[in-house]
């Protein structure tokens, strides 16, 4: 069994940032993602996730290292000034590199 090193980029943000974020994922060439609603607390106060529109979402996307770099760069430039958002990147291994 051979595994391949790729990046997992995790983005936590307000639910209303969802559509532009999906567009960004498309533009940088991510091939898939998962998304779910989370409660949270941060510098901009508590988000209780009781109304879909005011909740936080967490988006996780597995991408090649170059795509991760591109994604984080554009998040920092285009999204961080506008949205309540946290993003982090970590190293993961997958079985089929061609999927990502």
């Amino acid at each position: 069994m051979t595994t391949h090193a790729v990046k997992l980029v995790t983005i936590i943000c307000e639910a209303l940032a969802r559509k532009p974020l999906q567009q960004l994922l498309d533009e940088v060439g991510a091939h898939g993602y998962i998304l779910f609603t989370v409660e949270g607390d941060g510098r901009q106060g508590r988000r209780t996730a009781d109304i879909r529109e005011f909740a936080n979402i967490q988006v996780e996307v597995i991408v090649a290292p170059a795509v991760a770099e591109q994604l984080l760069l554009r998040l920092e430039r285009e999204f961080f000034p506008k949205f309540a958002m946290v993003a982090h990147e970590s190293d993961v291994r997958v079985l089929r590199r061609d999927k990502f």
Binding site: E14, L16, A17, K19, P20, Q23, L24, E27, T37, G45, T48, A49, D50, I51, R52, E53, F54, A55, E78, P81, K82, F83
Partner: protein, 328 residues
């Protein structure tokens, strides 16, 4: 008129729906554990909009499109022009940034379906008849102001590259196919196609429990609005005053429009309520998509934490008093 208004307000405050709203506010202020699941919030929204739309559609099938057309166009026009005076007022009176002024303008030109429903509930409670097809005014009034606000904001920002720049197409898609507008229009059409015979079949679901469901929903909305109250300090006194005074002016204006559109006292009240109400779901969603540089604290907090509770508790009976005074 003053004693009338005070009487009307206290009747309103003692109705189950408004008491439940107050209970939600208190729960939020006391930091109670009470929390509705997201799925319940969505469910209640879908129920209320579908019930409202379907009833409205049946009413249209009875009254005829011709009757509904003129006041609906008047409602739409009213929604579209309100941003045009809010924008300069906030730009120059309130010293807001252009993009923030445009965003707030969009919210106050648009409408709150929950406020509208609470008003129909109030009218039912005092046995004041109203045109059931008024739901059509609600349906057509949500989007125009949002489009106008986004255009004002985009003009102020100048051409923007990338994801947040570009055409109005996204705004229009959002405005016309967003959940609430789609549900209202769709169920209006369904109701109009079924007519009375269809209504007989779904009445025990869509009509009987409606007022109770509204009470439960307002409990949740009290929680949601109450949690925002602490953001008021970020908003400043100008916008807080704005969030009470403008609804009163718009309520009066709406009542005048309703009167000239030939509506009854009840229908005129509802037109006033629509003009006075401000959006806090559809408009914020559109702003985050199309004017993400606008500051949500400046548009969402006034609309949700000031105007909405003000209208639910006090505004509605005031607009009713206006309507009685002007129409009869």
């Amino acid at each position: 008129m003053a004693t009338d208004i005070i009487q009307a307000i206290s009747t309103n405050l003692l109705s189950p729906a408004v008491l439940f709203f107050g209970l939600g506010l208190i729960a939020a202020l006391l930091k109670s554990d009470l929390k509705f699941p997201e799925a319940l919030y969505v469910t209640l929204t879908i129920y209320l909009l579908a019930a409202l739309g379907f009833k409205g559609g049946v009413a249209i099938s009875e009254a005829g499109i011709a009757t509904v057309f003129l006041p609906a166009v008047a409602a739409m026009a009213l929604g579209a022009v309100i941003p045009l005076w809010i924008y300069p007022l906030l730009r120059f009176g309130g010293r807001l940034r252009p993009v923030d002024a445009a965003a707030v303008a969009a919210h106050y030109g648009s409408v709150s379906a929950v406020t509208f429903i609470t008003a129909t509930n109030y009218l039912k409670g005092i046995n004041e008849p109203y045109e059931n097809y008024a739901t059509a005014f609600l349906a057509v009034m949500e989007s125009p102001a949002i489009v106008v606000g986004v255009v004002l904001g985009k003009m102020s920002l100048g051409p923007q590259p990338g994801i947040f720049g570009g055409s109005l197409r996204k705004v229009l898609h959002e405005a016309l196919l967003g959940r609430s507008v789609f549900l209202l229009f769709g169920t209006l059409v369904a109701g109009a196609l079924c007519g009375k015979a269809g209504m007989d079949r779904v009445e025990p679901f869509f009509v009987g429990p409606f007022q109770g469901v509204l009470a439960l929903f307002l409990l949740e909305m009290g929680l949601v609005a109450g949690r925002r109250l602490e953001d008021l300090k970020k908003v400043g006194p100008f916008l807080v005053a704005f969030a009470i005074v403008l609804p009163l002016l718009h309520g009066f204006l709406g009542v005048v429009v309703g009167k000239y559109a030939g509506l009854s006292v009840g229908g005129t009240t509802l037109m006033g309520v629509l003009a006075a109400s401000a959006s806090y779901i559809a408009a914020p969603a559109a702003m985050r998509l199309s004017l993400p540089d606008a500051n949500p604290a400046l548009y969402l907090t006034p609309s949700l934490a000031v105007t909405f509770p003000f209208n639910v508790g006090i505004g509605i009976p005031i607009y009713y008093a206006f309507a009685r005074y002007l129409v009869s």
